[in-house]
């Protein structure tokens, strides 16, 4: 997995609540058997019209935010389907960090598996970052995972929390499966106990 340490980049404002994973990547793009190439269809139905032309009003189509690497969004971001295609599309577009007052559980988990940092902050602080993001391309935010702090384009610092294990995995780019396989003896031990106590499993 790609490491996430410190990111300085353009933040795109998406002040919508309940952005669901069908919005992030509609179902017709789930027919791929690969993880790459979904960025062009990120937010497809908001980003393009029926004929595939760009909708000029959508934030990621505007010159200031086409190169966005951070997304600032509303409550309950990533709700709905478990599709990991949602973080795959976000990452493929080039966004490595999503900031919102809350995230849906499965999407939140999926981000960490793909080198994306989702940050939960109180609404008031998200509002500050939303305003900063609205300034556009000359305004760059910095997200420092090691020190757990976001710095706005004005130099204002906002601290954030992150689970220590997940932080460690992101900073080091660690593969979960490799880590778990180191615990193979504990798994084998559990299985032999279960063969006795719950053999019907």
């Amino acid at each position: 997995m790609e490491k996430f340490t410190k990111l300085t980049g353009i933040a795109a404002p998406l002040p919508l609540v309940n952005v669901d994973t069908d919005m992030i990547i509609p179902k017709q793009f789930l027919k791929t058997i690969k993880r790459e190439g979904l960025g062009v269809n990120l937010f497809d139905e908001m980003r393009y019209d029926q004929d595939g032309n760009e909708n000029p009003d959508f934030v990621l189509n505007q010159p200031a935010w086409r190169e966005a690497e951070i997304l600032v969004a509303g409550d309950n971001f990533g709700c709905g389907s478990s599709r990991e295609h949602a973080p795959w599309a976000i990452k493929d577009f080039g966004i490595r960090c999503v900031i919102a007052p809350s995230f849906a559980d499965i999407f939140f988990n999926n981000c960490f598996k793909n080198g994306i940092l989702p940050i939960v902050l109180p609404q008031e602080q998200v509002d500050i970052l939303m305003k900063d993001a609205e300034k556009g391309a000359n305004a760059r935010m910095t997200v420092d995972l090691e020190n757990q702090v976001i710095t706005t384009s004005d130099g204002e610092e906002i601290a954030f929390n992150v689970d220590p294990f997940r932080k460690h995995c992101l900073l080091e780019g660690l593969d979960d499966i490799g880590l778990t396989l180191e615990k193979a003896p504990a798994i084998a031990d559990y299985e032999s106990r279960m063969a006795q106590t719950r053999p019907w499993i």
């Binding site: 919005m23 027919k31 389907s81 559980d105 988990n109 294990f165 778990t180 499993i201």
Partner: protein, 468 residues
Amino acid sequence: MTGKTLYDKIWDAHLVDQAEDGTCLLYIDRHLVHEVTSPQAFEGLRMSGRKVHSPDKTIAVPDHNVPTTEGRENVANMTEESRIQVQALDKNARDFGIHYYPVSDVRQGIVHIVGPEQGWTLPGMTVVCGDSHTATHGAFGALAHGIGTSEVEHVLATQTLIQKKSKNMKVEITGKLAPGVTAKDITLAVIGKTGTAGGTGYVIEYCGEAIRDLSMEGRMTVCNMAIEGGARAGLIAPDEKTFEYVKGRPHAPKGAQWEAALAWWKTLYSDDDAHWDKVVTIAAEDIAPVVTWGTSPEDVLPITGTVPAPEDFAGGKVDAARRSLDYMGLEPGMALTDIKVDAVFIGSCTNGRIEDLRAAAAILKGKKLAPGVRGMVVPGSGLVRAQAEEEGLDVIFKEAGFEWRLAGCSMCLGMNPDQLAPGERCAATSNRNFEGRMGRGGRTHLMSPVMAAAAAVTGHLTDVRELT
């Protein structure tokens, strides 16, 4: 020492390892797999030279993008992309030696209907699937939730998941449901009350007289939409109805193992002195038949209500409501019963079981679809379809003018040929009314099977209580 919740008990019984920071390794008893969220996971195994840790605990079935029309076992009748995914699952099931129900098998269907039907889902288990509606299996008192593809690969390789424990929420539905009010109305009413993020960070246990009174089918409907309320999982403590449902199913324990299992299952309930982080109580008699008006499952109102105005809301929901009304083509203040529909969809992992088809057929018997309305019934599995045909339900649907389809996810997520056209408005028994969910520009109103059947007959959203 305080008592434990049902969730606590299942969690403790599956703990393989716990790190100092609280990160846990949880054993997974059943891993359900479908064609859309698994190809990259199997590919990951191949690339790292890993095997499936427990093929005997891994069950695969294609459901999301299979067509629901006759002749589909001939893969030439699928679109190329769908064919690639279904054939990839065929190959992965074969190469890795996991249980598999191919399209041609009568037992094929929606993964969350097939699992319980075949007795794979049992009380006290941990069940995961790369699909958010895995919550369905919680109806058996199993800890069941959706996972992403990276986690699918993790479970395939290790039969475990890295987890942190969620908080405990109790949702109690007291008293008895009124006639015409169903499990779907309960689950939508709960989301209407708590919001789509109200359950975030929690595992919900549904309890109370109205929940106990539900059949296993109804309980699956309730738990299925726990995810729509944001919860990691929904649970209902197993009881005699659960044991009765499970007994004799192909993969349920038999003989002495059945007795041993039963003895353990009977210990799976929340203790009286268990700690709850949040409690929600709703009186069953306060629940009316409900429908959704917007593009979030929390946009729920009793059918007797009117379309709200954006100003009725606060915060970010004001803009969201404005956007929803625009997308749905609705004006504030109009009666919900004045909303005309173009299509009716009966099916999905929420309401595609035999009881759902019986309930809809009871309303439709001897009646016709309103002029200009198209209707589709998609049984949740091949066995549900066969049972319905044995009971003559297919005849009722066909005589009413509905299409009688083969099993699959169908229009619920529109990954297959079954989709709404732009602007087309549908009364649906499925679980998500998101923008574009059932087809780009399609407009979805969620409701129960009897309410969908009522809308089919009148051509507009209808209070089923006035029809019967």
